[in-house]
């Protein structure tokens, strides 16, 4: 446990050393300014547009950061043989993988929190200037941020899983991008087919295939709480709880297999 913690803290420090925090503060300021500019073109709902923009930018940035940071975790170290010294020590490999993933989670949490705080600041500054009585759904906004964090956590776990079998950093990058693209859309495709709006009947094999893909790949749409925060829609805590449970178990399964595969790997 201590070694896992040590790896996690080292990974977090690595993020700080890479001037991640300074970069995030700068991006945060840009986010505040650009939110005000972006929402000013709205005719009837500047606050809604501002929330929409803030959450979407945080989502996109977090996913990009996850991809690059996740690849830096193990794959690049394997590429450059940096971790050979660490792995030759009498430390279980599982501690290395879990510690690295823990550090990654801390970094992503820091990214989402810092950007989220800047966004909240910017949005609160916008409210006095807004027409009529507007309220900012803070808790729903935080839930949406939590959803983004869990999306990134799963994606990070998938990167670690692919890294544990890959020999270069390109393979996990491409595979993770593909899994993310599929996972983000499986629910949409499934619902589209079920709605019958396609105008033609799909063969049962196709339906079965989409169902299998839906079950195997992570469903990132489960963590999309943006609409609740944008329009202040009624939100259930149970929904958040189920999503969090799904996220935690999916990431745990990925890390479990990553540990097994990494353990058997020849380095």
């Amino acid at each position: 446990m201590r070694s896992i913690l040590a790896f996690a803290v080292t990974t977090l420090k690595g993020g700080v050393r890479d001037r991640l925090l300074q970069g995030l503060v700068l991006v945060g300021f840009l986010l505040i300014v650009s939110t005000a500019v972006f929402s000013s073109f709205s005719m009837r709902q500047p606050l809604e547009v501002a929330i929409n923009y803030s959450l979407s930018v945080i989502h996109i940035l977090s996913i990009i950061m996850t991809l690059f940071f996740g690849l830096n975790l193990i794959a690049r170290e394997l590429d450059s043989k940096e971790n050979h010294f660490i792995l030759s020590q009498p430390i279980p490999r599982s501690s290395y993988v879990m510690g690295k993933y823990g550090g990654f989670l801390l970094n992503i949490f820091a990214i989402v929190t810092i950007l989220g705080l800047f966004s909240i600041m910017g949005l609160l500054l916008m409210i006095p200037g807004a027409k009529g009585s507007v309220s900012f759904p803070l808790m729903k906004f935080v839930s949406a941020l939590l959803g983004i964090f869990f999306s990134c956590s799963i994606l990070g776990a998938i990167i670690v899983l692919f890294t544990s079998v890959a020999t270069s950093s390109i393979f996990p990058f491409l595979m993770s991008c593909a899994v993310y693209a599929i996972g983000e859309n499986t629910q949409t495709v499934r619902r589209y087919i079920a709605s019958g709006m396609v105008g033609k009947e799909f063969p049962p094999v196709f339906r079965l295939l989409t169902d299998i893909i839906y079950c195997i790949f992570p469903n990132f749409a489960l963590f999309d709480f943006k609409a609740y925060a944008i329009y202040g829609l009624p939100f259930s805590g149970r929904l958040l709880l189920v999503s969090v449970a799904y996220g935690v178990t999916y990431a745990a399964v990925c890390i479990f297999f990553a540990v097994i595969l990494f353990d058997k790997r020849d380095i």
Binding site: Q45, N52, H59, I60, I63, E184, V189, F220, Y231
Partner: protein
């Protein structure tokens, strides 16, 4: 020294091109077009979980296109493509009010576009059931463009229910019901409003309109009685009095005078509007024309 000179020269070049580029661009600019978007499903897939942002971007693109085309270039925008873009944007984010507001602003004056526009607004109303603007827009479109006061009143009632702070919507709905030959429905509706409202000023307004509709309904019943008795429609209110069906002419609380129109319906010179001046009584003919036909 040479480096500083080169730096200044480069900066000057940048300034020069920045100054001249827009002029050249305007001279060689192709006609501004709004391109047809991919199907909504494809847009949803390519948004990677940010469909609300994509809907906003499509709306902004449409808004800027319209602004540049109509405002800056003084050309007619391609309104079918504007509708297509707004429809797809609302498929991505059906709660985006900007799209509905913009659609109403740009398309509501084109009569053939009203059915599709109302369909678009209906989509919005399903997803924004708290927003009184959407049923209000639909009601306005039905009333002014499709000359359908019955449907207009239906939506105006919904708008009034969602915005109880505005008595105008409620009285407007009652007026549309009357014009749609649904006076009794208007009375029932206003009675419920009088019962529910807590604002004394609003209640006064509702009571005034209720009183007017009750008087109209009284005359409508008298006309039916006359038709049953004599087998023809009366031409004037006085005939109802002369034949003893009514004892006195009801008074319009808005200050107008009731009369029977050519279509056999009861009208008032006040048009049930506040601020009507008594000197305008002789403008009956003009007023008659502006009242939508019975049952239209």
């Amino acid at each position: 020294m040479k480096r500083i000179g080169l730096g200044i020269l480069l900066l000057l070049l940048v300034a020069l091109t920045t100054y001249y580029y827009p002029k050249l661009q305007r001279a060689y600019e192709p006609s501004l077009r709004l391109h047809r978007l991919l199907p909504a499903f494809a847009l949803k897939i390519s948004s990677f979980g940010n469909k609300e942002l994509m809907a906003t971007l499509i709306f902004y693109n449409t808004e800027f296109y319209f602004g540049e085309k109509a405002g800056f270039r003084k050309e007619t925008p391609e309104l079918k493509l504007v509708y297509d873009a707004l429809n797809k944007a609302t498929d991505l984010d059906p709660r985006n009010m900007d799209c509905y507001y913009f659609a109403q602003g740009t398309l509501s004056w084109i009569k053939p576009a009203i059915p599709v526009l109302n369909k678009l607004l209906e989509k919005g109303f399903k997803q924004r059931p708290w927003d009184w603007y959407l049923p209000f827009f639909i009601g306005v479109n039905y009333y002014f463009q499709l000359n359908d006061p019955v449907h207009a009143a239906k939506y105006m009632k919904k708008a009034a229910r969602l915005n109880p702070r505005s008595p105008v919507l409620a009285t407007l709905a009652a007026r549309m019901l009357y014009q749609g030959n649904q006076t009794q429905a208007g009375i029932i509706y206003l009675k419920s409003l009088v019962r529910e409202t807590t604002n004394p000023l609003f209640r006064k307004k509702f009571e005034k309109r209720l009183h007017a509709l009750e008087e109209i309904f009284f005359l409508e019943k008298a006309i039916k009685q006359y038709e049953k008795k004599f087998g023809k429609s009366p031409l004037e209110i006085h005939e109802l009095m002369r034949t003893g069906i009514i004892r006195k002419t009801p008074v319009d609380p808005y200050g107008g005078m009731f009369y029977i129109g050519k279509d056999g319906r009861v009208y008032t010179t006040s048009k049930l509007a506040e601020g009507w001046s008594k000197d305008e009584r002789h403008k009956d003919r003009k007023i008659k024309k502006s009242v939508p036909k019975r049952g239209s």
